[in-house]
Symmetry: C2
Subunit: 333 residues, 2 copies
């Protein structure tokens, strides 16, 4: 144990007083932190809300992730859920469970990571709760505004729509595999960074809605698994183009890491999660925002072809992604 | 280990499919659970939001609390924060961390506890997240609507106002002390129940606002400590009447338990937390909702009398309540 200042050296209110100044404000805040609750403007007459939790030794380990990384990732994976509805993030609240021996600096770094991930989108942290516990837990709830538009659900994909994606695929999974392989941790820092601090196109959610997106989600559990969710919710088949053509950029970015780890990069691209890019469907005549690449087509489900994802008309091989409790396909759960 | 069904026997989506039907809906839900985010109606053009977390072995222990109790308490302590703003709760989202070996039945009981605590107020559970972890964590975020009114802050108390309280004081703390004392666990089941499943007057928050409350919060850390928060936020002194007169009902309800445990019941009433009653100040001419009892007066702070709580003009003796990290005054932290 070093002499660093620990969480247990401060009263809860003292710790909060150190955290608050680091957190971003938002123009939507009518009453900010410090009262029983915050009051947030919702001029649209609706708000969009989602919650996501990060747990130490499940979603991150202390050896790999700094407090900044954990704060950044907690913010981004939540912001992406708001983007996936076609909404603009406005505000977050954060419940934080910390061991009493945690360094205060780690917590302040987490607050800075949260803040810097939110800042480009004008989203503020408007409230929170602290508790002690044996392991770090960061539970974030995020809110967004639809600015008068209709939310983009998972259920609106129609045969004839194009399937498109904005952001990167497979980077986070490759970064995790590099970190897991003790000999290759230093290789490809850009992929390791993509795992530690994913940077999805949050602003593209609103642009996709304005361009007429019929269905959308953020890819948190892998392209095949999450594509399957749109397929089942919409009662359609998402038929992806040949990855070598449609996902060429992602495959190229992963080729060298694939050679190093003896992994087929298409596995990362098709099943790797946590990049939080936006997978959307658009009417065939829609003018797509430039960051969306067409990667397939929506076709009708039939008696022989249940709602699912296919690749060039065939069922994909292998697993689909990972599951929190079954731990399927994920090394640390 | 029994043969009971465990969380790890199910995929996350299977577990969610078992939980969702138990959760209450709310009229405010425009898009419910199952998409990337929920969409909630906020006709007021604002929403009120707060978050609170319960951690196993900090806020509850498995030997004492059933899943139902934990769900109930997680809901209630959040609903009380909305009430304390003078708002009406509309919707909750829940992040749940569970050991993989947790019984599925325990989780379903938690969902039922959440649901039944919310039902009387029309609040729905509109989203959530599940993760595995070594200890149970229940992080709830709750939203409310002000129905066009002004939020009741902690900072609005003015000299001349009356101090009033709705709900019970000291019951939860006495129940916890009974549970902690192995020989007296079976005594006073009504106090143990008040600890396990507090039932504060959530609906009184709106009524207090309509009656002109100038400041309000819910008593989660004890009357003296929480009263001090209103005092400091408002820059005033909250002078409480003699407890034997003003808090007679609460003291009487605790008298026998106090004898059994050799505790002065006024300690429970003045410093016991987690009853989540509403402490409010009202203008002297306000017509108080009948469930509010006047327990003191607001007086001006002076050079000799900084913003604080006094009892009959004097500083109270002893500790003020408890702190999550310092563990001050709480046996389990």
């Amino acid at each position: 144990m070093s002499d660093s200042e620990r969480v247990c050296d401060l009263a809860e209110e003292q710790l909060l007083a150190r955290i608050f100044p680091l957190l971003p404000a938002t123009a939507a805040t009518l009453v900010g932190p410090g009262d029983d609750a915050a009051v947030i403007s919702a001029p649209d007459g609706r708000f969009v809300v989602s919650t996501d939790v990060l747990v130490q030794d499940r979603h991150f380990i202390r050896d790999w992730s700094t407090g900044y990384d954990v704060g950044w990732r907690a913010a981004v994976q939540n912001l992406a859920d708001i983007a996936a509805m076609g909404a603009r993030p406005t505000s977050l609240v954060v419940s934080l469970v910390l061991p009493r021996t945690e360094e205060v600096q780690w917590v302040l770094d987490l607050a800075r990571g949260l803040a810097e991930a939110c800042a480009p989108y004008g989203a503020g942290v408007v409230g929170g709760d602290l508790s002690s516990g044996d392991a770090i837990v960061v539970a974030v709830t995020v809110h967004g505004d639809l600015d008068g538009g209709d939310p983009v659900l998972r259920s609106g994909a129609r045969p004839g729509d194009v399937v498109a994606h904005a952001g990167v695929l497979g980077r986070s999974a490759a970064g995790l595999d590099l970190l897991t392989d003790a000999e290759e941790t230093a290789a490809h820092p850009e992929l390791v960074a993509a795992y530690l601090r994913p940077d999805p196109p949050i602003g593209s959610g609103t642009r996709a809605r304005l361009a007429g997106a019929t269905a959308m989600l953020d890819v948190s559990d892998g392209l095949l698994r999450d594509g399957g969710r749109i397929a089942r919710a919409s009662g359609v088949v998402l038929d992806l183009d040949a990855p070598l053509r449609a996902l060429q950029t992602d495959l190229a970015a992963l080729a060298e890491a694939g050679r190093v780890l003896d992994v087929d990069p298409s596995r990362w691209v098709l099943t790797g999660g946590e990049d939080h890019g936006l997978l959307a469907t658009f009417p065939p005549d829609a003018e797509l925002p430039s960051e969306f690449r067409v990667i397939g087509r929506v076709v009708a489900a039939t008696a022989d072809r249940s709602p699912s994802v296919t690749v060039q008309g065939a069922a994909p091989e292998g697993d689909e992604g990972w599951d929190h409790f079954a731990g399927h396909g994920h090394p640390r759960d």
